[in-house]
Assembly symmetry: C2
Homo-oligomer: 195 residues x 2
């Protein structure tokens, strides 16, 4: 049944947008495509998203937020900072691998969209770095880590592990040595952070 | 003057191939294109490179070897391993930036070619990791670094600095914070290697 203007929420539109992207790839997912998929007028969609660009930005943000949402619990936990940092990086790697492996076409589509939506990506990286900063700061406070600038240290850790979360390495993630490579990089970074 | 069969060396063919790539992009650079540019028969080129694939692989290898050649002097030097590691990584970053910045179209062309020539890229990474391993091993011997497995440590350092040498980050290299980011990553890695 087509949604009415009362039941047509932004979330429902974004779900439909993802479904359109999944079926037709990144070239599609205009407001008109999405309205058609929902069986509503395009005016109803425009009430929530004023342009095609706004719609694509929002669906990209929603996709990225799913990952940062999964990780926020680890960042906010109260386990030992060193274990928490390792768990957080492993969870990020696992989430990206799962996204890339479970639905490679949708992943490729979102890789195109993230290339177009620099603001959503920038906010995502800011959010992830903030979570990492929280862990590093906890470690400095507990005496486990040494750092004059936990935010800069968190940014360095994030950048140094790019191979295990940046989509441009997605092809490497299923290579046999990927897990050992991840552990070796995290080991040297943790040694580098230790007080 | 067109080269004769005596003067037509593999190096001269590869120079001409690079020139063809520079002018026409990655879709060109067939044996016939290169023979035409040199004013020789394509048979003369085939005597050195039996297929278009072999020619493209060789020109990619030559391009990659220019970078590893520049760095080999640093790896083989006898300065303090910590300074040498930092210099080597900085020289790699500088070489890649210079290649990307000085001739972005040729860089983009070679980025396509490296995608096609996995063997040449694999050998290049093996060579660079061997140079890094030499520095790490010198550091372990001198007591500056601690590592049970210098080769694995070198591989981790290479992977952790991918942001500063992997072509998929070329767009980030001219960002204002790139130099500071590089220093922060290298600092934490060096701390992690220190005995």
């Amino acid at each position: 049944m087509a949604p009415t203007s009362e039941t047509l929420t932004a979330e429902r539109i974004l779900e439909a947008t993802e479904e359109v992207l999944r079926r037709h790839g990144p070239a599609k997912a205009t407001v008109v495509d999405v309205a058609r998929a929902l069986g509503v007028s395009h005016g109803s969609v425009y009430r929530h998203f004023r342009t095609k660009a706004a719609l694509r930005e929002a669906v990209t943000k929603r996709w990225l937020d799913r990952t940062s949402g999964e990780l926020s619990g680890i960042a906010a936990g109260d386990g030992a900072p060193e274990a928490r940092l390792r768990d957080w990086l492993a969870a990020l790697f696992a989430a990206k691998r799962r996204k890339a492996g479970a639905d490679p076409e949708l992943f490729a589509t979102y890789t195109v969209l993230t290339g177009e939506n620099g603001t959503a990506v920038g906010e995502h990286i800011t959010e992830l770095t903030a979570q990492l900063t929280r862990i590093v700061r906890d470690g400095v406070e507990s005496g486990a880590f040494a750092s004059d600038d936990p935010e800069a240290a968190a940014r360095a850790v994030f950048q140094a592990t790019g191979r295990f979360h940046d989509p441009c390495y997605a092809r490497e993630w299923e290579e046999p040595g990927a897990e050992a490579d991840f552990t070796a990089v995290v080991d040297v970074l943790l040694r580098g952070l230790r007080a």
